[in-house]
């Protein structure tokens, strides 16, 4: 039993998840059983999955298998290679924390029965793992679609609210448009051989035109799932609608499936690499990143803020992948490996810190019932656990050392610094702009995260009821703590992570950076050479800790030697109330001014005679008006025109068939020739 192949372990875990889901149906309304037993069991499954996949990753074996499922003579081809193993590790680790959190999070009687939630949740996990194992287009699409469907049902868990149903519908629509593009992409890749296994696609040598078509379809299809501009609109709608563990799973893990798909298609199935592919991907990624972070900075709803922040991170991942493609197209494989390492590192980092942040919003939501930043504040005193864990997530998300976000963004910038080596002067001129936008994105991400943490947890409570807020429960604490530990671990021990990423980049572009990176000791990361750049996270860790300790001691000794609570931003008033402190809207105002053309603003200003002045501003993005509404209107217009065919008169219907008959008869002589 113990010496089974890794792929068998993974399949057993998938089976266990499916079984747990089915058990959920049997125990449909037994809340305690589902929440306290099934979800923790699923979490343990995630841990085993991560361990098995890590074993496969380290051993470097490629394992494949056929399952006689589905249609006759069309079995599921499964394959576990380094790329899928790496993503499986992420699913396993993240789902352990999220499932544990979910065990404590879901309440009885919230729209969907607990057993049903258990079914959808575990099927969702199983289908994501199956997406990674799939080795033919058929199995891939089946898993991909069940992933979309289960997540749709999870998003609409609270389906009694029309707004949530609308958000779910939007998500499902975009997911399906994307799925069609992916299917077409596989259709192009199999090059008319009729064999849809990935092995066959790998063997095909496509012409430049068809390879580009496949690439563009893949960008569109997987981009719809990932939330690349302008297909991002479902993210800010679906994430606030979904329960928090689901948002965490979707943002942290499911979006990465799209990244996996793109890596699979671009680096594994396609052999041709053309430089403009990389440029396109890079440009899309950068625009998405800046767009996402600017919008994150002006949001006043905490889950929307995080959703836009996810868009930003996906943009960074795209930029890293695009850079990898660019290097690869010029045969600079070592640098491509560096860019891809940055991408994969960020995949892991984002999976953990964004899940953590979504989970903390869940705790805040349950404790206060508020999701609007304008009504929160000061929660660090009532929910210290959640606040400190959120702080770790926020620091990682802002890309500060020694947390996970820093390593990946640093690696990404390092790979950008090598672009002057590219043999095309035109690109060399543009790359500095790209580097600057990455830096801008990172800075603005910090800005948005300060807002997220500061407005929710610091200052004074803006509502009376907030002082009744309670801290997270036991399961929730463990779940969030696990993700926080992972976020710190990724930041503190980068060389170990690089050793895990190494087999993946070796499989994709034939090179790896881990050996180089740890050449100067396990505590120091040197992606190329020690003379060029190095990063020792432990120095930072100890430096930051020492600085904090020294500051603390000095303040205690020399300043006033006692803890004094005073009003921040008191503005010199002797009295103060919670309405005087900085608000989410106020904090985002400079960004709103600077990036005004990005937004579609609806402001509500108080009148002078208002006794209870209220200021509010609603920010929506212009893509709704610019792209989606015209499409919707055109569809409606065409539908009305087509609807005119339906007259309700038999004579007209007969006339239709009569004319059709005449036209067909007219075509007969031409057809015979």
């Amino acid at each position: 039993m113990l010496n089974m192949m890794a792929i068998d372990w993974v399949l057993w875990i998938i089976g266990a998840w499916i079984a747990l889901g089915l058990l959920g149906i049997i125990a449909l309304h037994k809340f305690a059983l589902v929440a306290r037993v099934f979800f923790p069991l699923g979490a343990v499954g995630g841990l085993i999955l991560a361990y098995a996949a890590a074993q496969a990753l380290v051993s470097g074996r490629v394992e494949s298998k056929q399952l006689a499922l589905g249609l006759p003579s069309l079995p599921f081809h499964l394959r576990l290679d380094a790329l899928s193993a790496f993503f499986l590790v992420i699913i396993g680790l993240a789902s352990f924390g999220i499932s544990l959190f979910a065990a404590g999070y879901f309440r009885n009687g919230e729209g969907t029965a607990p057993g049903l939630l258990c079914l959808e949740f575990h099927f969702f996990l199983a289908s994501m793992a199956l997406v990674l194992l799939a080795d033919d287009a058929y199995a891939f699409m089946v898993a991909w679609e069940s992933m979309a469907l289960t997540s749709y049902f999870l998003v609409t868990a609270n389906h009694r609210l029309p707004k949530i149903r609308a958000a779910g519908f939007l998500y499902l629509l975009i997911a399906h448009i994307g799925a069609i593009a992916i299917l077409l992409c596989f259709g192009v890749l199999q090059a008319n051989t009729g064999d849809y296994t990935f092995a066959n696609m790998r063997a095909q040598n496509l012409s430049t035109f068809w390879a580009s078509a496949a690439f563009l379809l893949a960008i569109f299809g997987f981009g719809a799932k990932a939330g690349i501009l302008p297909l991002h609109i479902w993210l800010p709608e679906a994430h606030p609608a979904a329960p928090s563990p689901v948002s965490a799973l979707m943002s942290g893990v499911m979006l990465k499936m799209a990244i996996y798909g793109l890596l699979r298609v671009c680096f594994d199935l396609l052999h041709l690499h053309i430089w403009w592919w990389g440029v396109l991907m890079l440009a899309l990624g950068l625009i998405t990143a800046i767009f996402g972070v600017v919008f994150a900075a002006v949001q006043v709803e905490m889950k929307r803020l995080l959703a836009y922040s996810s868009i930003e991170n996906i943009g960074l991942l795209f930029a890293a992948m695009g850079l990898g493609l660019l290097f690869r197209s010029y045969g600079m494989n070592a640098l491509a490996a560096l860019a891809l390492t940055a991408c994969l590192y960020h995949v892991a980092g984002h999976a953990f810190f964004k899940s953590l942040l979504f989970l903390t919003t869940g705790s805040v939501l349950h404790a206060t019932g508020e999701r609007n930043l304008g009504r929160l504040g000061g929660l660090i005193r009532f929910m210290p656990w959640v606040a400190w864990l959120a702080l770790i997530g926020v620091l990682a998300s802002s890309g500060l050392p020694p947390f996970s976000g820093f390593v990946s963004e640093w690696l990404l910038l390092q790979s950008f610094l090598f672009t002057p080596g590219l043999p095309q002067p035109f690109l060399n001129m543009l790359i500095p702009i790209a580097t600057a936008s990455i830096a801008l994105t990172a800075a603005l991400a910090g800005y948005a995260m300060v807002k997220f943490f500061g407005v929710i947890f610091l200052g004074q409570p803006r509502e009376e009821k907030l002082s009744q807020a309670h801290d997270a429960g036991k399961f929730e604490k463990i779940g969030m703590g696990w993700l926080a530990i992972l976020s710190i671990g990724l930041g503190v021990a980068p060389n170990w992570v690089l050793h895990l990423i190494d087999p993946v980049t070796k499989g994709l572009v034939g090179e790896g950076i881990a050996r180089n990176a740890s050449a100067n000791g396990w505590w120091l990361v040197t992606p190329t050479s020690i003379a060029r750049a190095s990063y020792g996270p432990l120095y930072f860790l100890f430096g930051v800790m020492a600085a904090c300790a020294v500051a603390f001691v000095l303040v205690r000794l020399f300043y006033h030697a006692r803890l004094r609570r005073s009003a921040p931003w008191g503005g010199g008033h002797s009295w103060r109330n919670s309405r005087m402190q900085d608000t989410a809207e106020g904090y985002g105002q400079p960004i709103r001014q600077i990036f005004e053309p990005f937004f579609h603003l609806e402001r509500h200003l108080p009148k002078p005679e208002d006794t209870e002045p209220e200021y509010s501003v609603a920010v929506s993005d212009k893509f709704w008006e610019g792209i989606y509404m015209p499409i919707a209107r055109a569809t409606e217009y065409v539908s009305v025109k087509v609807g005119r065919l339906q007259q309700g008169r038999i004579s007209i219907y007969l006339l239709y068939s009569f004319i059709t008959l005449l036209v067909i008869l007219l075509l007969v002589p031409t057809a015979r020739r």
Partner: protein, 219 residues
């Protein structure tokens, strides 16, 4: 002998075409039914001549079947329907009758041109009849379109079936017996079902005018 038979078939064919025009022009329902039964009789005669000429036994059977079904049984059912439903009044057409006739002529020219190359290839003894049969199909179809009442539409549908049957016998010496039996049965059942529908329509709308069906349209 063969020459005479061919001439006879051609005569019946032209008779059929004339009857189709007559039905197109006819306003009264009762006369329409009589014309339909006359059309059936013509088809029977043509089938018998073809059977005699080509010595195909099974064409006699189908001629007898057609005689019973289309000359006696269905017209009798239709007459009963008219009596029961009390719809003896004149039929309104959508377009006035002279214009309908003109369109009909255009259709006949179209059908002849269409059938010309086909009948050249055909090994049939009476090649010209295919065009006429096709023209009759189109004319009956047009009759269905032009009428506003349900009963004439049913008759148009039946006339179309007659023309198809004629096309089958004259151009290809008939279809296999099984197919013919099947079609005959279909037509009979179709008439019954349409009769039931007519009652239902009248029950619902107090009239057989199908313009009332427009209110069923979804907005």
């Amino acid at each position: 002998m063969t020459e005479l038979s061919i001439q006879l078939v051609n005569l019946f064919a032209s008779f059929l075409l004339m009857l189709a025009f007559a039905m197109l022009a006819q306003r009264r329902v009762l006369t329409l039914i009589n014309l339909y039964s006359l059309q059936g009789l013509t088809v029977v005669a043509a089938t018998t001549v073809v059977a005699h000429m080509t010595h195909q036994e099974h064409l006699y059977y189908s001629a007898v079947l057609t005689l019973i079904l289309k000359v006696f049984l269905i017209p009798w059912i239709l007459h009963r329907l008219v009596k029961r439903l009390n719809v003896r009044w004149d039929v309104e057409t959508l377009i006035n009758i002279p214009s309908t006739m003109l369109v009909g002529i255009v259709l006949v020219v179209f059908a002849f041109n269409l059938a010309l190359p086909i009948s050249r290839l055909s090994s049939s003894v009476v090649p010209g009849t295919l065009g006429i049969a096709l023209a009759c199909v189109l004319l009956s179809f047009m009759m269905m379109i032009m009428r506003t009442k349900a009963l004439p539409q049913v008759i148009g549908f039946l006339a179309m079936e007659n023309a198809l049957f004629f096309a089958a016998t004259s151009a290809t010496y008939g279809m296999p017996m099984v197919v013919e039996l099947g079609i005959a049965l279909d037509v009979l059942v179709g008439v019954f079902i349409l009769g039931v529908f007519l009652f239902q329509i009248r029950e619902q709308f107090e009239s057989l005018d199908i313009s009332h069906l427009e209110s069923l349209r979804e907005d």
